[in-house]
Every structure is written in C-alpha cells, then in structure tokens.
C-alpha cells in the first residue's frame, strides 16, 4: 500500500526500466562467457569455478555501479540490490558453464 502510494507520487518510466535491465543483462551475458573462458583455461573444477564466477560478477556489478550508475543506483534501478547486484546472475550461469567446459576441454584436457 505504501509502495503503491510512493509510485503514484514518484512514477517510474517503464521504458527506462526495460532499457536498464537489458543493458545489465547484455553486460552479464558477455562477461559470463568471458569468465568461463578464464575459468576453463585456469583449470578450475567444481566449487572453485563457481566461486570464480561469483567473484567475477561481483566485480562487474561494482564496475556498473561506478561507471554506468555513477554511484547512485536508486536513480537507475527500482530495486538496486536485486536489479544491479543480483540481476541476471543466474541467467549468465549457463553461458559461463558452456565456455568453462569448452575451454577446459580445449586447453587443459
């Protein structure tokens, strides 16, 4: 109820929200496959590989926070924690595993 009132007073532009989440998802997809390349070449296996992905996404989130959101994420994201720091992390996981296994097979095996 309170949230609804807040939205009436300060309306949110839906096209901007869509644009921002698309930018974040694009960055996530590109960097996820990049981290997969690195993890496979380093020869990481099981949990360290996933930990590498999580650390990488954290660094990329920090970069988006500093460069694209200029340190004010609430101006660009409705829920900064979910949309910026946690946005599309699981969605990028599949492309991470794909390139991880590919480069592990190419370089290490």
């Amino acid at each position: 109820m309170n949230d609804e009132r807040e939205l009436v007073i300060n309306p949110v532009v839906q096209t901007s929200v869509q644009h921002n989440s698309q930018v974040v998802s694009n960055i996530r997809n590109l960097t996820a496959s990049l981290f997969g390349v690195a993890a496979g070449t380093l020869g990481l296996e099981s949990y360290p590989g996933f930990a590498f992905y999580l650390i990488g996404t954290l660094i990329v989130s920090a970069l988006i926070f500093l460069v694209r959101a200029e340190g004010k994420p609430s101006e660009y994201f409705h829920r900064p924690l979910g949309d910026l720091w946690g946005g599309e992390v699981v969605g990028g996981l599949s492309s991470f595993v794909l390139t991880w296994t590919l480069f592990y097979g190419l370089v290490r095996a």
Binding site: V12, N20, F103
Partner: protein
C-alpha cells in the same frame, strides 16, 4: 567513453588470446605441472580489462524516476539513440517530450497557457461597476 571501451576491448582480447595460447602450449608440453604464475596473472588482467571495456562500451542507463527522466529530456532535447541506426544508416531518435502535442512551449498547434481567471474576473467586475461601457 565508447572509444576508450573499444581500445580496452582490443587490448584485453589480445592479452587473452596470448594467455590462452601460452596455457595451451604449457599444458601440451608439461601435462602434469601447474600453470605458471605469469600466465595466470596475464589471464586475470586480460579478463579484467575486457570486462571493464564491455562496461565502458555499453549504452548509458536511463533514469527511471519520471521527474528526472523528463527533466533530462527537457534539458538536453530529443537525443538520437546511441549505437542504433536504421538499415539505411539513419539515426533513431530516443524519447522525446511526452507533452509536446499540447504546444505549451509556443510552437505548433495546441493549447495556449492557462490564463489568470481571478484577474480576469476582477477586471470584469471593475468593468461592470464602471458602467459597463468599454
């Protein structure tokens, strides 16, 4: 910004290719020994460079609060969308003023600005009291 991002991407891709090639050569020559530290460092630095480049070359975010979004539009005017072109190579315009059709800023057809109702009423009362002649 976009130029710096592209430069970072190219440098990062070169380092990444070199690091992966080195790792491949190393593992084919010494299959059991771990990866040397310099290849690991080169790999991590190249990944960092590439992800920084990707973030720098991504399109700018748009403010989601209506007030800030429309304020930006009225300050900067209608801007072409960065990086988006039609097939003929023409620029695609981004979001414009939502209320331009009202014609409040003087040009185009539309409604004039609001007039001072109380002032007009007072003027009318004065005119009636003065005898109703113009």
């Amino acid at each position: 910004m976009a130029f710096g991002g592209a430069a970072l991407n190219i440098i990062g891709a070169l380092f990444l290719a070199h690091a992966i090639y080195s790792a491949h050569e190393h593992t084919t020559t010494f299959p059991t020994s771990p990866l040397p530290l310099d290849i690991t460092i080169e790999l991590l630095v190249s990944v960092l460079l590439l992800s920084t480049g990707i973030v720098f070359s991504s399109p700018a975010l748009k403010p989601i609060q209506w007030a800030q979004w429309s304020g930006k539009i009225s300050r900067e005017g209608q801007q072409p969308e960065a990086g988006k072109k039609t097939r003929e190579g023409e620029q695609i315009l981004g979001d414009g003023d939502m209320f331009a059709f009202l014609g409040l800023d003087g040009y185009g057809e539309g409604r004039r600005g609001f007039w001072d109702v109380r002032g007009k009423r007072k003027e009318y009362v004065g005119w009636v009291k003065a005898g109703g002649r113009a």
